[in-house]
Amino acid sequence: MSDAYAASERVPLRLRLSRRGIDGVTLLIVPSVLFVLALFIYPFLYGLALSFAPKEGGWLANYQKFFADPFYYDTIWKTLRLAVPVTIINVLLSIPIALRVRLMRHQRVLTTILVLPITLGTVLVADGLLTYLGPRGWLNRLVLDSGFSESPVHLVHNYWGVVLALVVSIFPFTFLLTLSSLTGIDPSLEGAASTLGATPRARFRYIVLPLLAPGLAINFCLSFVQAFSVFPSAVLLGDPAGTTRVISIAAYTAAFEQYDYSLASAIAMIMGLTQLAIVAGLLSSRGLFYRGSAAAAKG
C-alpha cells in the first residue's frame, strides 16, 4: 500500500489532474490527439491556405493555372485512366476468388503469399517488374521462345507497365478486404437458400451479393484511393513525361523541383478533393444497399 502511494506521488501530473477532477485516464489520449492535430490537420489547413497564396497572381492563380493548362489538368484524366480500370479489375477479380478461398481450409498459406507484394512495397515491385517484364526479362523470353511474337512485347516505360504494377501491388489488398467482408456473412444463410432449392447462381445473386455490396463499396473506395495515389511505379515503370504523368508527379515536381510549394499545395488539394468526390459519390449510393446484419438472426 505505502509503496503504491509513493508510486502515485512520483507522478505529479496524475495528482494535479485528479485535483482538478479530470479523469487521468481520458487525458491519455491528449498527446496523440495533439500530435495528429499538429502534423496532420494543421499541415492540411496550412497547405490549403498556402494554395491560395500563389507566387504571382491573384489568390486563385494556382487553381486557374491548373485548370487552364492541359499540362496540369490532363494529369487528373491520366490518373483516372490508370486508377479506374485497375480498381474495377481488382474488385471484380477478388469476388470469385474470395468465394472459393472462403471454403479453403489452409487460407493462411495463400494470404501469406498475397501479403508479400504489400509488405515489399511499390518500389520493389516496380524494380522487379522492370527486370521481369523488360526486353530481356523472363516474360519476353517466354514470348519469343514460344513463337508468340517475333519481337519483344513492350510492357515497361508505358501505360501497361504501371497498370501491371498497380494490379500486383493492390490486388492482394482488395482481395483480403473482400475475403474479410465475405467471412462476415453467415454461411447458414446460403445453406438455408440451398435447402429451399436455390442454385449457386441464385444464391450468389440474391443472398451473397446484396450482403457483400456495402463491403464492396468501401473496398472499392480504399483500393481506388490507393491506385489514384500511384507514384513510384508511375515514375519507374511508366512514362512519367507522357502517358503516365499522374497528378502525384505534377505535385511532386512543383514542390521538389520547382520549389513552388504554393502550387504543389494546390495540386495536393485538388488530388485530395478528386479522391473525396469519387469516394463520396460511391458511398452516397450505399443508401441503395441492404444495411442490416449479415449474421443469422439466431446466434
Binding site: 485516464v25 496550412y46 490549403l48 478486404l177 480504399l222
Partner: protein, 277 residues
C-alpha cells in the same frame, strides 16, 4: 459437395484457381528475377545468366553507401516503433475504457491519416516540416513516419484492451495502484501480445514506407527503400545487377521481419486499417 457439382461449376472453379495460380506464379517470377539478376554475371537472351557471382553485393555496398543507409533505416524504424507505442498504447487504453463527449470525432481524427494516402498529406506535411527546418534531417523523417503509425497502433490496440476484464484493473485500483503503476504492472504485461503485434506491423510498414520518407529525407537521412528508389530511377548510371543486389538486401530486411510478424499476427492484419484487425 464437389462430387455432385455440375461440369460448369467445376470449370468455373478451375478457371478461378488458374487465375490465382497465374498471379502467384508471376509474383514469384518477379521476385526470382530480381534475385537471379543480382547474382548473375552476364545475362543476355538466355533463361539464366552465363554465370553466378556475389560481386554485385560488394559493388552495391560501396556504390550506394549501404552501411550508412542501413544505420539510418535502423534508427528511423527503432524511433518510430518506440514513439508510436509511447503515444498509441495509452491513447488506445483511454479510448477503449472511457466514453466522453466528442469520442467519435477523436476516432475520426485517428482514422483520417490511415485513410488519406500518404502522397496526398505528404506534400503539405513536408512543406510544414521544411518551413520549421525539420525536413531533410533524421528527425523530420521520424516525425513524418509517425503520422500514420500512431493512429495505426491506436486502432489495432483498442480491441486488445477491450478484451481485458475491467475488474482486474478495479482490483489493482482497490489495492492502491495509480494509473502509472496500473499500466506498468497490470496492463502492459496483459497487453504484451497485442503491443508486440502492433509494433511488428508498424516496423514492417515503416521499412516499406516510401512516400513520407522520400518527401522529408535529405542526403544523409535516406532509408533503404528511398535509396532503392533513387537507384532505380537513375538506372542508366548504375548497373542493373548492383541495383538488384540492393533490392535483395531490402527484400531480406523486410521479409525477415514479415516472418517474425507472421508468428504473432494474421496476414490480413497487415492490410488492415483497424477494421479487419
Amino acid at each position: 459437395m464437389s462430387r455432385d457439382e455440375p461440369i460448369g461449376a467445376r470449370l468455373w472453379a478451375v478457371t478461378v484457381w488458374a487465375t490465382v495460380g497465374f498471379f502467384i506464379l508471376n509474383l514469384f517470377a518477379v521476385i526470382a528475377s530480381v534475385v537471379v539478376n543480382s547474382f548473375g554475371t552476364r545475362w543476355f537472351n538466355t533463361w539464366l545468366p552465363a554465370g553466378f557471382t556475389t560481386r554485385w553485393y560488394v559493388a552495391a555496398w560501396g556504390e550506394f553507401q549501404l552501411d550508412q543507409v542501413l544505420i539510418v533505416t535502423l534508427e528511423v524504424v527503432t524511433a518510430v516503433v518506440a514513439l508510436s507505442a509511447l503515444f498509441g498504447v495509452p491513447a488506445a487504453y483511454a479510448l477503449a475504457r472511457r466514453d466522453f463527449p466528442g469520442k467519435r470525432l477523436v476516432m475520426l481524427l485517428f482514422l483520417l491519416p490511415l485513410l488519406v494516402p500518404p502522397i496526398t498529406f505528404g506534400i503539405p506535411l513536408a512543406t510544414v516540416l521544411y518551413r520549421i527546418g525539420l525536413a531533410g534531417s533524421l528527425y523530420g523523417v521520424i516525425v513524418a513516419n509517425l503520422v500514420p503509425t500512431v493512429p495505426f497502433v491506436i486502432l489495432v490496440m483498442i480491441p486488445f484492451v477491450e478484451q481485458i476484464d475491467p475488474r482486474i484493473e478495479a482490483a489493482a485500483r482497490v489495492f492502491g495502484a495509480g494509473t502509472w503503476r496500473l499500466f506498468m504492472t497490470v496492463l502492459v504485461p496483459l497487453l504484451a501480445p497485442g503491443i508486440l503485434a502492433a509494433l511488428l506491423l508498424v516496423l514492417v510498414r515503416t521499412i516499406a514506407m516510401f512516400e513520407l520518407t522520400f518527401f522529408t529525407s535529405g542526403p544523409t537521412s535516406q532509408t533503404l527503400v528511398v535509396a532503392l528508389y533513387y537507384a532505380v530511377s537513375a538506372a542508366g548510371i548504375r548497373s542493373g545487377q548492383s541495383i538488384d543486389a540492393m533490392a535483395v538486401i531490402y527484400m531480406a530486411t523486410t521479409l525477415i521481419w514479415l516472418l517474425v510478424a507472421l508468428r504473432f499476427v494474421n496476414p490480413t492484419q497487415i492490410v488492415g486499417r483497424g477494421r479487419t484487425g
